[in-house]
Point group: none
Chain length 206, copies 4
DNA sequence: AATGAATGAGGATTCATTCAT
DNA sequence: GATGAATGAATCCTCATTCAT
């Protein structure tokens, strides 16, 4: 167990504080001072560790992306059939650590950041490709050549549900969102028996 | 032809300039001065007409929302069957005046604005309800009680495609987006004959 | 008489304040706020008019250089003989508006600025060339081919007296400096009759 | 050979690094951190040894002044006649270890430092007095009562050449500078035979 | 109606300096 | 002796907003 130096701890604290601040502000107009204060340090130290505001935002973005990737990997690990694999991805998208108000707000703002920041664009592109690849891999055994196309649809649907979720008004919870996605995906698959598979692993959902 | 006073002209110019600036910046971090300069007037005058930056942003938002509503209304006007009505909505979403880089960037940022601004939230909620209502109305004759649910899915999918479009990298054009939506919607409907309907009106797309 | 807009007035005030501040601080570490306050306005306005601190410093530099050039031109105007021309340049260098503690401090610091700022370097190079040219032109009739060389010496001597003047301790006044320069220049010229010429116009010195 | 403790070594390294940094920046706006990093230690240690930035700068200044004094002393040691003594001083001023870009930049900035820092002013005044004294001592046998006056001129000329050298553009090398000084000094002396003396020791120049 | 002039408030960033270890 | 950690104080700069004309 490597002893954590103080640097990783501080960086971690700043990243967490950044996500919280973005969630609270609903935008990227968060001051480094506020982030630092929430993380329990001076803004000068935040600059010392990250070099600048942009780096802090990107670190927060990477953090969320990594969290999501970890969740997907962990959910997929126990999947045995393609249908289970597909459902694992859906669960990862709408399960508790990721489908939080503040994380969703962060996602939304990362899309904005990507408009102006090449690195943010790159990260989001990587995320999208990985999701597409995971979905396609799971879909291929079930729908063959149509896999890529359907993966694109499901990916867009996930993003759409996320962005709508950011409007707290009339948004559904993670469970409802997951249920909706599952129903939709079921309809996109050939047979009717997939439905069962999805429900089988339903208990795994937090 | 009502002679436009100078005020509406100036307001219109500011709204247009605002959308262009948001498109160029990719965020709401646009200065009133730049907007005003692009609209050919002083920033003081912009304030005079709108009262403040927030009002300008909201006016731009209303403008885009109205444009979209108009487009939907106009497309639906010539629709005769439920399927045509459904397709009309899709066409309105991905047709040229709305599916522009700058308009898409604006949409994305209005979601951000809605995080902090109640009026922006209200506008987006109204938009969402209207879209849901239009979709449900078109879907009901075809899928009955499942209409609301499917409308929600289609709505989310539209938003998802929009947000992904904002990442220029690997984004598809409006025509491709429309095609994808149509294929997906087809699969959500009971029979296979709907597919034909969609293709029938295909020529109407610009 | 063109009515001065407010902008030239403000710029002028800022330039003057900048020189005073540099004189008081003895270095370029003067804050825009202090300069602006001394000029009777907000620092924001200073930025508005000049765009940034560097521009303000360069404007101050140009101001001093122009003042010096004007002084030289005005002194030379009434010179009839080469020797008088030469003496006019010396008088311009050590006469009252230029040979002030604050102006001298500014000069010194402009040399520092020129180490890092290309435009400042350019300005100083222009100044040096012009001085060299003026001196050479005056010297040629008196010393022929040696003019350029002697001009270089006199130019360096002027700069040397300036820099030493900046050390208030043990520095001589403008009159003493001028006298020293005149004596030295006299020795550099062939005959002994030049001495008289220099003394003839001595009364013109303020 | 006294074994140097670690402290003098560190101090020496810091002083050298300071001069290099000033040379690179062209100004006194060098950070203690950079100086310390270049000297291979932490900025905290630099503070520990010197007490503060100002002390470091002053130490660098003293170093340069001492170096110059040593050079003069060493050059004068082998001089037998007054003319040789005079030339020795000139050689010391423009010989290689002193007439470097970074040392010249440092000199210039020490004049700036002297504007605000009494100790820097004192050091520069001491330097000037010593130079004046050395020059006068060498000149007296040759020009008698005019020695002090001519020493002043030569001193100012040396400083002037230095400051101009800092503007790399169009600056001459050390050899040229020395040649110019020698020519000028020759003209300031009564007879023409001094010229020979200067050329006699010319070979000593590096 | 229209604008140039002006500013207060705020934010990112830098840096000398301190201190516990 | 040596340093990483930490910060307060500055400083440049931007911008929404106001106001007199």
């Amino acid at each position: 167990m490597p002893k954590l130096g103080v640097e990783p701890i501080r960086r971690q604290a700043l990243v967490k504080a950044t996500i919280t601040e973005i969630g609270a502000a609903g935008s990227l107009d968060v001051t480094v001072s506020k982030i630092a204060r929430r993380a329990g340090m001076s803004s000068a130290l935040a600059h010392h560790y990250f070099g600048g505001k942009e780096q802090i935002l990107l670190a927060a973005m990477r953090h969320i992306l990594v969290l999501f990737a970890d969740e997907v990997r962990s959910q997929i690990a126990s999947a045995r059939t393609p249908a289970e694999r597909l459902d694992a991805i859906l669960r990862a998208s709408f399960a508790s650590p990721n489908f939080t108000a503040e994380v969703i707000a962060a996602w939304l703002n990362f899309y904005v950041l990507a408009q102006a920041n090449p690195e943010a664009l790159r990260l989001l592109t990587v995320y999208r490709r990985r999701l597409q690849s995971n979905l396609t891999y799971a879909l291929r055994p079930m729908v063959g050549a149509a896999a890529a196309d359907k993966a694109e649809v499901i990916g867009a649907l996930i993003d759409g549900v996320y962005i709508r979720q950011s409007l707290r008004a009339g948004a559904m919870g993670g469970a409802d969102a997951l249920a909706m996605l599952r129903r939709t995906v079921d309809h996109m698959l050939p047979g009717a028996d997939q439905r069962k598979t999805a429900e089988m692993v339903d208990g795994a959902m937090t």
